[in-house]
Symmetry: C2
Subunit: 703 residues, 2 copies
């Protein structure tokens, strides 16, 4: 959907204009005050008022002398349908609806009203923002259609923001650190979707970084496509996504009626596409400020910390460590050059304390030298820039830093003071002018730096990834009928996709069991074969280490007896005779299907490691060998794959292949697969492969 007609209109009508302190009044006032020179393009429409803030009003949209592009409806919901018809007749292709009381209330009548609104907009070909929104601010063309008061901003910035909460837009605009290209309060966004806004901002040349507060993903395929485009354009997308917690999901549902989805799946989805996910507004703001201000992003985790006191040097080094920042030693050449410019007390080491004997000149020269070191990619200083700076020596250091940055600056510099986030405005402005952001203290500032490093890492490896997701062809709203395949049926399916399984056969009689064992070769395992008995061990349906014919016979009888006792109704197909596998590292591979994001592939070490230590890797299908390997390496337990305690390294490649095969299976069965598990899959030493010891596939539909 082309959103220029909504977000970049020429002629605008504000309907319901007033001087009152309401959203309608704020919208009228802020437009007039801040976009004054464009008044000839603005029509105010009010049934009651002759003038608003000195501007004559029209009584109805129909009365307007010419056509309009955008109608901003500040009126109650009963009036909306009629006004939209009028607006469309006047040529409007876009509309903003502030009114709430639609689908978000959860009431049937309101949901119905929302559906009617959607249908009406389709019919009229209207790009509608809202309902239940606060409108938007376009700082590029200075078009304001926003229902809150806000501080004047003289110039457009580089952050494009879309939010499903108007208050969040307001909160972010309270900070002076960031300027915006667009601020969009999208509301329920049931006509123009959140994905449409994201696409507009990803395409927009004036927007350097896209910021979003998202309560629910609406069109997953579109979301994925937009994120792919952003990744390819290397335009960072920073998302605060609701639903980390059950309480947060509940609050989001009653706010804009959007379901926030399984949070771990969202995390995995974002990881695939390089989305920078943040956890609160200050973090959203800080990441965007850093990206919008820095001329280049840091290329790798090789930072230099330079400070003016020993205490700050120590504290920032410790805090940096806690946030995963790395401070490599300087090269001998760098250290040598530094010694020439540093005071006698100071040590030429990273992190560096310039000490009391230094000044702004020292700082400038140190910055020059340090950033020439090929082993250093970014400089961070903790200069205490607050709202009222009492230590006047700070200014001298600051000037030194600015002189450094005024030279050709190939590597980024940031200031992360150790306290406060209020800053002297002039200093903020001077540093911004030379491409240096001042970030909040470490729990935000260093976290932000780490996220930038992760993002540039992502860009480095982006082309190795499959930038798509698998979504269902048809979606059935009802809870499906599910069928669990038996172990053997599951394994047949695995084998179809190339997943290594041990030799095994179904035996329907004792004699068949004996023959099968002879063919397969001892030792064997016997397991009950029934789709009705999923917990085979619990049912006494598994006997291992069977070494001879006699044992096969005993085991066969025992298993059938146990099975019948455990579940007299169970349909028992016989007994599965399986080659007893050599023990290996026990891993698990599984698939769950996210209703929005499609099949999610999971792997981890078995049992306790996944359940108690929650050490699992999750990634959306489809995935390739490179992505599968990354999943395995992201496990804490991946140390066990690299040759732990003198054991040989394990066949990571073979396990990765299974992940890819499972992903292929999930993609082919996308419309019917409910879930599946290979638990355990034994992983053997390098080049010795893996083997699926047990497995379970659940499909939708009747057997």
């Amino acid at each position: 959907m082309d959103l220029n007609r909504l977000l970049r209109p020429k002629k605008i009508a504000i309907v319901g204009a007033t001087e009152k302190e309401t959203m309608a009044g704020f919208a009228s006032r802020m437009f007039i005050e801040q976009c004054g020179k464009r008044r000839e393009d603005l029509y105010l429409v009010s049934l009651k008022n002759e003038t608003v803030f000195g501007i004559p009003c029209y009584h109805t949209l129909s009365e307007l002398p010419g056509t309009i592009d955008l109608a901003v409806l500040c009126t109650p919901k009963q009036t909306v349908a009629g006004l939209l018809e009028e607006a469309a007749q006047k040529g409007a292709k876009g509309a903003v609806v502030f009114a709430s009381g639609y689908g978000e209330t959860g009431k049937e009548e309101d949901k119905k009203l929302e559906e009617e609104l959607i249908a009406q907009c389709r019919r009229l070909d209207l790009a509608l923002m809202g309902p239940n929104c606060a409108g938007f601010l376009n700082f590029v063309d200075r078009v304001f259609a926003f229902g809150f008061l806000f501080h004047a901003r003289e110039s457009a910035g580089r952050v494009g923001l879309v939010s499903q909460s108007g208050q969040v837009c307001m909160a972010l605009m309270e900070s002076e650190k960031t300027s915006f290209s667009y601020v969009i309060s999208a509301g329920n966004c049931k006509i123009v979707n959140i994905e449409d806004y994201l696409e507009f901002l990803v395409d927009d040349e004036d927007t350097r970084v896209v910021a979003a507060y998202v309560e629910g993903i609406q069109n997953p395929e579109k979301f994925a496509a937009v994120l792919k485009k952003a990744a390819e354009k290397k335009k960072p997308v920073v998302v605060l996504k609701a639903g980390r917690s059950e309480k947060g999901s509940r609050a989001a549902a009653s706010h804009t009626g959007n379901l926030s989805g399984s949070d771990k799946n969202v995390d995995a989805f974002f990881r695939k596409f390089g989305v920078i996910r943040v956890d609160d507004l200050e973090e959203l703001l800080s990441v965007c400020t850093a990206i919008a201000t820095l001329p280049v992003l840091p290329r790798s985790n090789k930072l230099a910390f330079v400070n003016i006191s020993g205490g700050e040097t120590t504290i920032s080094a410790d805090a940096g460590y806690l946030h995963g920042l790395k401070l490599p030693d300087f090269s001998p050449e760098t250290a040598e050059k530094l010694r020439e410019v540093l005071p006698a007390f100071a040590t030429a080491q990273n992190p560096m304390d310039l000490t009391g004997g230094s000044n702004g000149d020292t700082f400038e020269r140190v910055a020059d030298i340090v950033l020439e070191d090929p082993g250093i990619e970014m400089l961070i200083t903790s200069l205490q820039i607050t709202k009222k700076i009492s230590d006047i020596t700070i200014y001298d250091f600051l000037n030194g830093l600015i002189r450094h940055c005024e030279k050709e600056q190939k590597k980024p510099v940031a200031v992360v003071p150790l306290i406060e986030s209020s800053r002297e405005e002039e200093v903020l402005e001077r540093l911004r002018a030379v491409g240096v952001p001042i970030l909040p203290p470490p729990h935000y500032g260093y976290r932000v730096i780490k996220k930038l490093l992760d993002y540039t890492d992502y860009l480095e490896t982006m082309e190795n990834r499959t930038l798509s997701i698998v979504t269902k062809t048809e979606v059935c709203g009802k809870e499906p009928v599910k069928t669990a395949l038996s172990e053997h049926e599951s394994k047949l399916l695995f084998q179809k996709f190339g997943i290594p399984c041990p030799p095994e056969e179904i035996a329907e009689t004792e004699e068949e069991a004996v023959q099968a064992a002879a063919v397969i070769g001892y030792p064997v395992v016997l397991k009950i074969e029934s789709g009705d008995i999923l917990h085979k061990s619990e049912a006494g349906g598994v006997i291992v280490g069977i070494a001879c014919e006699e044992e096969v016979r005993t085991a066969y009888r025992k298993i059938l007896e146990n099975g019948r006792k455990y579940n007299p109704q169970a349909l028992i197909h016989g007994v599965l005779v399986q080659k007893m596998l050599e023990p290996g590292l026990e891993a698990i591979v599984g698939v769950t299907c996210d209703p929005q994001l499609g099949p999610m592939i999971l792997t981890g070490l078995g049992g306790i490691f996944t359940e108690v230590f929650q050490d699992a890797a999750l990634y959306p299908a489809p995935l390739n060998q490179w992505e599968a390997r990354e999943m395995i390496l992201s496990l804490k337990g991946s140390k066990l794959f690299r040759g732990y305690r003198g054991k040989p390294p394990l066949d990571t490649e073979a396990l990765a292949r299974v992940l890819v095969q499972v992903s292929n299976l999930a993609a082919e069965y996308k419309d019917t697969l409910v879930e599946m598990d290979i638990n355990p899959v034994f992983v053997y030493p390098e080049k010795e492969g893996v083997s699926a010891a047990d497995g379970l596939v659940v499909l939708r539909g009747k057997p």
Copy 2:
């Protein structure tokens, strides 16, 4: 040491007074400007100047007309020794020395100078602050002896700060959110120790919360005693301790010459005494601000979040979850009462969105109702209070909140806005007046709330703990000669302290081995017995599952042969014949000795769990059964003790007993124990105990 003579002097001489922009100049100026009315008690001493800032100077200390209590030396280090003699003659019992270039440089000559300074102060009975310090500010009596410029502060606050960095003092004073009772820049603190300052602040009635930036612990026993006193007085001690990282430790060492010690041990030490440990300055400041402002601390993790918009409600709920904050549902009675005051759109649930239809009155009544709920202990709101508030409706809500707080307030309230940390000063002041702190955004604000909750939890259980540590009677500076006991020797020591071990005997001949096995009962394990072969399995020195005499004989011969091959020089005492234990959950128990903090007791699950997943609990000796139990329960793997996957719960009490026994052993052997390990100790089901399967004790000294 009584520090009143240093920190609460009546008559003060500033030596080296000047109008220049140096520490001496700043100290002179700030004293005169801000403590003007006390000028009759202040002497300025300057060799060169007749007057400084209009006040006549004396040329030497000897010229002063009367006695002094405190001499503030702003002069170079060469002059210090002579001036201290003069000061002492004039009756001074306290001195501040700004000069640096002592032990912190690491040079031998400077270290020697520091030792002479220490000796001189002892001889003259002088409480000396520094050297290499920036002095102190006593806001209670308004005595300023501080070498930096700072903003005027009208009144004394409730935070007492001691810091080993002057710049850190400065940084903390830049914020307007906190007022101080004392600010002490302690420098190298080699005469008056960091522990002396802490004790002063813990004792001081004007100080509600003690804040400290500590680079190195100097007197561990005193530190422990001061912390015990603080815990008993329920006076919170908030510490930013250097040394989280290797780079931070190095920076601290070159700053004040203090070694920061093993960080995990410091963590464990602090945990025992309820120290609130923070990770950066903003966190230090925020925790102190919260404690100094709140009339009562929150009693348990039962919070209500009340916000004015849906977006903020969702974001704060998610962020609260990430920081471990809990939002219980309101009681049905509370929900019923809330429904009467809430607008129709709003839902009476926690977290609560007051929605657009509400106002300050709504907020007041909601706060009243919510905090009457016996299941809620604190109210947190995210009202966006920034430096320039553009949303004027905020003030109405704010007034509602203040009206609530003006009533009898039994439960705490805090504001945690979602962005910025700059705040409108008048709002800050009005909220502070009713006991409401405004904290930084969630990564700080919620973290702070969680730390307060942990602290009040600690106070609840404090009396269950042993508030002391075990320190060496004599400390030997050199690396000691170490002796490893053999497994059997180690077990004999374990048994002396009541630690359950399997039946075992040393066999020096094959016959003895056979006899021992018969007495102990099959199956048995045979292990090589030699203090020279610590990695017994690696040496082929362990054979398990021996079921009969014949197997004993074969095993005995094989083990001796393997041992001789592995280490021809090894002194082999024979073979240990041990009852083969039933398998149980494998845990480890260990002791390492911190050079400062004494024996540290460690426990965890064996092998991978400790090494790969780093799931271990650490606690300083001595410990009691309650503390030992807490250690075990703090493990992530403690789920395995509670009956995992249908298995019976395990004997946690028995493992806890072993921890106590090991702590007793460590305490008795405090001067000689280097380290010890029980690895593994098998843990059996409840009431079935534990058994030390293998163990190693290393003592100092020759065998």
